[in-house]
Subunit: 252 residues, 2 copies
DNA sequence: GAAACTATCTTGTATATACAAGATAAACTT
DNA sequence: AAGTTTATCTTGTATATACAAGATAGTTTC
């Protein structure tokens, strides 16, 4: 069956019903929904601007902005005189998916164990708590955890958690690494960023990691948000001999 | 001396003289020039849209597009009802994008220069040439390049290139970093992977990078393919004080 | 048949206009 | 003096209109 343009637009017009978001953003959402649901496949052509104008009842400039921004974001590909097409999904680096070291270790078939060194509940800005230039004056948890792979220390986790969003963080079982699942449950991460550096560990950190003083470490600072609210920040420190980051891009 | 708005716009109007690029792009360029030259400092307020309209003789929507895109790119910060400000310069690299250090440095508004230390054409397996467990028995180029940001060494690039796919690699201008464009031209990368580690540089590498012997470095090993053929492998070494990896996921 | 032209589709840009909404300082009221 | 209103600045969005320019299919011309 050949899908006609009108059938392509079926639910598109319903999905931009009135909501607080601006129109161009709703148009973007509606298009993303079509793509993510699989209804609009990669390389497939999407309706032209004028068709969307007719179907959605908005002006062409509004549709144009939505399509242009999605093109900038790599979701669509446009060619003057030809049309607009769904871009192939970019497989971005596994770096963005290593949120949970326990899962990674399990995936390697090794045994994971976490050791809670310290956890405190305090009232401090996130900025004070971890050097990532963020301002929130909430009650926070500050935890230090050491992760083991087959009883060998592989990572120090210094985590700061927004206690307003995750009030029961300290009641989780740290040894079984329930903390990650708990955080995802109470405040599913919608946005995040990380900073990767090479650093020399302090003497105390060397002791925790059971490494020589001259071994460099990979440090990952990560911040994750849920709907514009900072949920948690983390500083992850791993000795280079036991931890590497691997990423893959392009291809299938 | 207080800088008046009119003096802020002095050369701005001259710099968008007619050229092939669209007007909004020329407005963006002119603003970037002001920022990169240091005339508009970080956190400083820039002229309002209506002021730019008057000064440049273009419509407000065109100025708005230029400012909006620069905001999306993290160059500017806008606040409704208040104004537009120069954002603090970000000194990190985007991890999700393909690495071309020259472009990244240019994007930061800094000057890039590359120095070719050595290039040889030889017959060896890629596996021998760089320790990444890859087998190809082709003729290869092996080059060592040092990249400078504002005359400060920021990265050592040890590159191995498949000479069958890129026969004229050694004829490119290394100082101008034509090599990246050349590789993309002869064998557009369709797939790649990278491995990130923290390492201690050798004495020779410290000398090339002009750093102390105890400074850890971020090492990125990268392999890129074009249609299942290995095009090039690279080992990129950057001192932690001058180079960080940055990644962003989720959100818009 | 081949080349040139044309109509018509597409996206890309530029403009004027309009109103909404956030922020701020001055003016006003109590 | 303290709070309220108002005027006015800012950015944010939505629209209609217009023309430019790339691509393509069909038509005409030679």
């Amino acid at each position: 069956m050949i899908e006609t343009t009108s059938s392509m637009m079926n639910k598109l017009s319903q999905s931009i019903e009135d909501s607080p978001a601006p129109i161009y953003a709703r148009v973007k959402q509606a298009i993303c929904l079509k793509i993510n649901s699989g209804e609009w496949q990669a390389n497939q052509r999407v309706p032209s601007e004028s068709e969307m104008v007719k179907a959605l009842g908005v002006s062409r400039m509004t549709v144009n902005r939505a399509l242009r921004e999605l093109t900038d974001e790599g979701i669509l590909i446009r060619q003057q005189g030809v049309g607009t097409f769904v871009a192939k999904k970019k497989t971005h680096s596994a770096l963005s998916e290593i949120h949970n070291i326990a899962d990674e270790i399990a995936q390697r078939g090794n045994q994971h164990r976490a050791e809670l060194i310290e956890i405190i509940r305090t009232n401090a800005s996130m900025e004070e708590a971890i050097n990532l230039s963020v301002r929130t004056n909430h009650t926070i948890f500050r935890a230090t955890i050491v992760h083991f792979e087959n009883e060998l220390p592989i990572q120090i986790e210094e985590r700061v958690v927004n206690a307003t969003l995750a009030p029961d963080y300290d009641k989780q079982d740290f040894q079984q690494n329930e903390t990650y699942d708990y955080l995802m449950k109470v405040a599913p991460m919608t946005e995040g960023e990380h900073l990767v550096e090479a650093v020399m560990p302090s003497a105390y950190e060397c002791k925790l990691l059971q490494i020589e003083a001259n071994e460099p470490c990979l440090q990952i600072k990560r911040r994750t948000w849920c709907d514009d609210q900072l949920v948690t920040t983390a500083r992850l420190l791993s000795p280079s001999s036991r931890f590497q980051l691997f990423g893959h891009f392009g291809g299938k």
